[in-house]
């Protein structure tokens, strides 16, 4: 606890605030990397995920691949890439994009898959073209899960972007590496605390985003049928839901 206090003290020390080496700059670098990574990863993963989600094809291949990708040790990948492209942003950005893709991809395609097949069926039956089904039904209804995917990807990227400093791309990892090398635990902890703060802020922003982007009708549906049980006791409310299921013969 004492250590934790020293970590905060390090953060609040004005000597560490301004300038090229200051907390402000480091945070901006960290956020910059995160942003660039998320944009690139989204540009790759969202269309691909949508394609998989809409057609239902290629899912198993992609699931297997992203399982493998998840196992990739990021530090190893950064080192390997940096050995060929040199130090700086490029290597960590590529490595982090690889890290972020599986979550976003899963969010994108599972968002599509979670859309009730009958809703899509009805959309097709009223005469929507495939493109209209994607843009007007699947995309808006898949948003909650997509954002969930983006959310966990961002969390991972923020945490892992600490490795960017390994190849000179700066960011909050700097405090961690240099704190570790000089036995300066308060500095190291300060770096960690800042990373966690960023993670918390991102979580908060994403839950706001989720609230504003998730279609109101979906919110209404969720409020009606909360996914978690509310009471959980032996007398769970099951009346109205039951009769709905009764009709939905399969």
């Amino acid at each position: 606890m004492n250590l934790l206090f020293e970590g905060f003290a390090w953060i609040f020390d004005p000597a560490h605030h301004g300038g090229d080496e200051g907390i402000g700059t480091r945070i901006l670098q960290h956020l910059g990397i995160t942003l660039v990574v998320m944009v690139i990863a989204s540009l790759i993963a969202i269309p691909l995920g949508y394609l998989i989600g809409h057609t239902g094809r290629g899912r198993s291949v992609v699931v297997a691949l992203s399982g493998g990708v998840r196992a990739l040790p990021t530090l190893g990948v950064i080192s390997l890439i940096a050995l060929s492209v040199g130090i700086g942003f490029t290597a960590p950005v590529i490595a982090l994009v690889i890290l972020a893709i599986p979550s976003i991809l899963a969010g994108a395609y599972s968002g599509f898959e979670a859309v009730d097949r009958r809703t899509i069926d009805a959309a097709r039956a009223v005469g929507m073209t495939e493109g209209q089904i994607v843009t007007r039904v699947e995309v808006p209804l898949g948003l909650p899960l997509l954002i969930g995917g983006l959310r966990s990807a961002t969390l991972q990227v923020i945490a892992t972007a600490t490795l960017a400093d390994y190849v000179g791309a700066g960011g909050l990892g700097r405090y961690i590496f240099s704190g570790q090398a000089t036995n300066d635990y308060p500095q190291m902890l300060a770096g960690s605390i800042l990373v966690i703060m960023l993670a918390l802020v991102s979580e908060a922003l994403f839950s706001l985003l989720q609230r504003s982007l998730v279609p109101a009708g979906v919110v209404a549906a969720e409020q009606r049928q909360p996914d978690g049980e509310t009471s959980g006791g032996p007398t769970r409310k099951s009346g109205p839901r039951r009769s709905l299921i009764a009709g939905a013969r399969r």
Binding site: T74, S79, Y109
Partner: protein, 228 residues
């Protein structure tokens, strides 16, 4: 790539080290997450707290955690206890959500009928709810397994021998083959663990094997929400 051929025994040894560190962690993460997930699922108020806490926990950079833990635990940096606890904490952070989701996914009708038949609360949990949460738990465990195997490369920096040593050493000595060996073996371990977990799941949950085919109509996709 010469290096690989000349160092097969070393690769084997490090691979075993890696497995020795990760396998117990995966198991522990699972075991500890069950009660936490149960609490998260059982009490509405705790659900949000537990789930967001575990989400943010996952954002703690690993290196500082491993360095700070011994200060709290009173162990040495290189101590297996330190490494195991650190990795397990990350595993739990991932697994708790799956456990809560898994328990929530159990058809309330089934739990109702179990209650109606006279299952006591605890036997209902162990014999009905937990096994039925199995498929979701399994999916969560697969993610935990992969990420633990990957994360364990980091603890090499602490002087604990794992495949991660091939990265640091490979970079210092500029031996690409060594780095590749580390990456490939990490993925291989992850894949092998994954196969084992899936097979174990099939073995322990025989009812999931046949049911999907019998229930869902061919050609129509059923609702699947993959864990994100």
């Amino acid at each position: 790539m010469n290096w690989i051929g000349n160092n097969l025994p070393l690769i084997g040894e490090r691979t075993l080290d890696h497995i020795a560190i990760t396998a117990p962690v995966i198991l522990l993460s699972f075991l500890i997450s069950v009660p936490i997930g149960w609490v998260a699922n059982r009490f509405t108020a705790s659900r949000g707290i537990v789930l967001s806490a575990s989400g943010v926990f996952y954002a703690i950079p690993s290196l500082p955690l491993f360095v700070a833990l011994p200060v709290i635990l009173g162990t040495g940096l290189r101590s297996p206890v330190n490494v195991t606890i650190g990795l397990t904490l990350y595993g739990i952070a991932l697994m708790v959500r799956s456990t809560a989701d898994g328990l929530a996914s159990v058809d309330p009708d089934v739990t109702q009928s179990a209650t109606a038949m006279g299952f006591s609360d605890s036997s209902r949990f162990w014999r009905v709810e937990l096994p039925l949460a199995g498929p979701v738990l399994l999916a969560g465990l697969r993610v935990v397994s992969v990420s633990t195997v990957s994360l364990a490369t980091v603890v090499a920096v602490l002087g604990v021998p794992t495949l991660g040593l091939f990265f640091t050493d490979g970079v210092e000595r500029n031996i690409l083959g060594e780095i590749w060996a580390g990456i490939v073996m990490t993925i291989v371990i992850a894949l092998v663990f994954d196969v084992i977990i899936v097979q174990l799941g099939r073995l322990l949950m025989p009812w999931t094997r046949s049911s999907s085919a019998a229930v869902s109509r061919p050609g129509r996709r059923t609702r699947v929400v993959a864990p994100v």
